[in-house]
């Protein structure tokens, strides 16, 4: 197995929830479903205040190809389409507020029974898109787009990402251990869509039970491939490199090296959508960290408020930071009035000690970030450019290759917020680009 260069070994911290069985989150009274839960063109809300909705009913309409709808997490009444805090952007963005009626009634005809292996590629893609499925590892790119590479791109390998390399999180782990069939069937559907006869399921070696269960259950065409434990092993490009030895070119996509990567949770959702027409309205997420009293893995409806999730897990205890996602790439939240999203793989509550909050000092050129960077960049240089807004120079230094995995910042002994500087540079570069486009 050819490994990838760089990476770090932060404490895994998985023991907090690794062995806790998934608990069903009880039905709530109120849900807030942001319309934009995917990467790509926006969708438009198609319900209004006073509308009665039922579980699984579409609440929005995609605008364009790279766009998917969101669906009602339960039955009830639409209270309105309001501006709600978006957990990813931190900005106010339209969300459908639903007051649950407690009946949790499915929309007309759902769930249905059908055989995905009797459906053709077009029908399957339509089912996947209609179900609002996006990459559930956190990137939330629409799945139907990834599964439908353009003409001229030949896909030879389907890689299923069960690596879950972010510390603390165990949602994919629990899914694979407890519901292996959903994942495996979903993989087979994805293979069918891509016209492939085999797939590789990658799992980090720190999940031996998941590897064992998957090896027991997996049909011959799905190879379970344990990978050495190193962050960011689950990053798409590093995963492809480790499994195939091929490097996705700078600025390119996995399909440029003949691969498609899907998260294992996404595969489970693909199965639900194709076999039962059930849209993506719930997911498994780890609520963990030492700042929450009872860490749990929960199956929770998309749109459930963070406040309710925290209450269900015994409340906060010495919380200093609340993060959607893992500690390396997750997004710190400033309010509990935000909903669980399709891409919320974890809710992490760090104490002040674990979050290690403090200032930073000048770069001492120790080179640790250079050794840690899996993309072969010089993060120290980028951070210095960031301090001086020099985005043009940063672009020449590989700014756009940075995937913000956080390795550089994790190892920096000066505690420099390198990724933050890089995001700043990217924002400057983007805004200059859009100004130029307007001026032209």
């Amino acid at each position: 197995m050819s490994p990838f260069k760089g990476g770090v070994h932060p404490p895994e911290e998985k023991a907090l929830v690794r062995d806790r069985a998934i608990e069903d989150f009880p039905l709530g009274a109120r849900y807030s479903v942001p319309v934009q839960q995917h990467l790509g063109a926006p969708a438009r809300a198609i319900v209004k205040a006073g509308d009665a909705v039922r579980k699984g009913q579409a609440l929005s309409e995609p605008q364009g190809y790279v766009s998917v709808p969101v669906h009602a997490p339960t039955s009830g009444t639409v209270k309105g389409v309001a501006k709600v805090v978006h957990p990813v952007t931190g900005l106010l963005s339209p969300g459908v507020i639903i007051e649950a009626d407690g009946k949790d009634e499915w929309a007309e005809g759902l769930p249905l029974r059908r055989d995905p292996f009797a459906m053709d590629k077009g029908e399957l893609l339509e089912a996947i898109r209609g179900a609002g499925i996006v990459g559930m590892g956190g990137a939330t790119f629409p799945t139907h787009v990834k599964l439908n590479p353009p003409e001229g791109k030949t896909i030879g390998t389907l890689i299923i990402n069960g690596v879950e390399c972010e510390p603390y999180l165990s949602s994919d782990h629990r899914l694979m251990v407890e519901e292996p069939e959903r994942v495996l069937k979903g993989i087979q559907v994805a293979m069918r869509v891509l016209g492939l006869d085999r797939a590789v399921l990658a799992i980090e070696a720190n999940k031996p039970d998941a590897i064992r269960v998957m090896r027991e259950k997996a049909p011959g065409e799905i190879t379970v491939s344990p990978l050495s434990v190193k962050y960011p092993q689950g990053s798409e490009k590093q995963l492809i490199k480790a499994l195939t030895g091929r490097e996705v070119p700078s600025g390119g996509l996995p399909m440029d090296v003949g691969t498609v990567v899907q998260n294992c949770g996404t595969c489970a959702a693909i199965w639900d959508a194709c076999s039962a027409g059930v849209p993506l309205i719930e997911r498994i997420t780890s609520v963990t960290g030492r700042g929450v009293r009872n860490p749990k893995n929960i199956r929770v409806r998309v749109g459930t408020l963070l406040r309710d999730v925290i209450d269900f897990c015994g409340g906060l205890d010495g919380a200093a930071k609340i993060i959607f996602g893992g500690p390396m790439m997750g997004i710190a939240q400033f309010t509990q009035d935000i909903p669980v999203m399709k891409g919320t793989s974890g809710i992490l509550v760090l104490t002040e000690k674990d979050a290690d909050i403090g200032g930073y000092s000048p770069c001492i050129s120790c080179g640790r970030c250079v050794e840690a960077c899996p993309m072969g960049l010089i993060p120290s240089t980028l951070s210095r450019l960031g301090e001086r807004d020099l985005w043009q120079a940063a672009r020449k230094s590989g700014l756009t290759d940075c995937m913000e995995c956080g390795c550089c910042t994790y190892v920096c002994p000066a505690r420099r917020p390198i990724v933050h500087f890089i995001r700043h540079l990217k924002a400057l570069s983007r805004s200059a680009g859009s100004k130029q486009a307007k001026g032209a």
Partner: protein
């Protein structure tokens, strides 16, 4: 909800911060410093103490005077002080040590903007400053004596490299130099700067730094390897004129330079490839100065010269980017 912190990811950090790293280097210098105190007695201890205290004090005063945050808690000034002391003769008067410390901190570091911004190794800047300003005191080497046999009348003598240079100047052959049992410089029983005399002690400290992953092997191996190969070739050509590589490896400031000065983060290249290039350059210049230069020793000069080339080396040794077309 009580107040929570919001910041950009990642949200966790390795516990190895700057003060931790600096302390590790101080620990790694302890064997060499102890050997110095053993062979040169209390004067050596005094030089170490004056140098460290002066460096910390000057940095604190400078930062207070400049109304910037006093950051001597990062251990960087203390380390500079210790490194400077290691590079001085044990007989240096205290005021000379204090002047050297002030030069190291002010002209070696703070005028450039403080930690992280200095192009040259501050301790070496101070050492060279003192060598030029006080050439006699800086080349008066007390003879080593075991700690419990220290006498008030410090007898002085030449360093092995100095004796070699004299022999070549006066007799045009190294065979005129006094015979040297290489175990002496290996263990520290020779004249020299107080922290450089024992190759063994320095290597032990260096290995500690490598094991702790504070430094990588690239710089010391490239530096020492270049010196060994270069002097080895010369020795093969004419053993009457050139000393054997083993002699060059264990004498002078080579070990101290290779493990502790050429590995300084701020003033050396950032990538592993760059570190190797830096080490090779240091080795070449060291040998050129030792063999053909006016000074018997060239380690400090070689590192300072290579410090000046770091931006160029960094530019030429960028790591290969993931997905690059080559």
């Amino acid at each position: 909800m009580k107040d929570v912190f919001v910041s950009s990811s990642p949200h966790i950090h390795s516990p190895e911060d700057i003060p931790w790293i600096m302390r590790q280097v101080v620990y790694a210098l302890m064997p060499g410093a102890l050997v110095g105190v053993y062979f040169f007695g209390l004067p050596a201890l005094s030089v170490i103490a004056v140098s460290m205290i002066s460096c910390v004090a000057v940095e604190a005063l400078w930062q207070k005077g400049m109304r910037t945050k006093v950051q001597v808690g990062d251990w960087s000034a203390a380390l500079t002080g210790l490194l400077l002391a290691m590079n001085l003769p044990a007989g240096c008067p205290w005021w000379m040590v204090a002047i050297g410390s002030a030069v190291a901190i002010v002209f070696g570091k703070q005028v450039y903007g403080g930690i992280g911004s200095n192009p040259f190794n501050p301790a070496l800047v101070a050492r060279v400053f003192l060598l030029i300003s006080f050439p006699v005191a800086m080349t008066t080497w007390p003879r080593p004596r075991p700690f419990f046999e220290q006498a008030a009348d410090a007898v002085t003598g030449a360093t092995p490299l100095g004796a070699l240079k004299t022999a070549i100047f006066e007799h045009h052959t190294i065979t005129a130099a006094p015979r040297l049992d290489l175990m002496d410089p290996f263990l520290g029983n020779i004249g020299g700067s107080l922290g450089e005399i024992s190759a063994l002690a320095i290597i032990l400290g260096g290995l500690y730094l490598i094991i702790r992953r504070i430094i990588t092997w690239h710089t010391p191996v490239a530096f020492l390897g270049t010196v060994a190969v270069f002097t080895g070739i010369l020795w093969k050509i004419n053993p009457d004129l050139y000393a054997p590589p083993a002699f060059h490896l264990v004498t002078g400031g080579l070990m101290l330079g290779a493990f502790f000065m050429a590995t300084d983060y701020v003033t050396t290249p950032i990538s592993l490839k760059g570190k190797a290039v830096f080490g090779i350059g240091c080795g070449l210049i060291t040998v050129i100065i030792r063999i053909w230069g006016g000074y018997p020793e060239g380690v400090a000069f070689s590192i300072l010269i290579m410090n000046a080339l770091v931006p160029l080396i960094n530019r030429a040794t960028q790591p290969r980017r993931f997905g690059a077309s080559t």
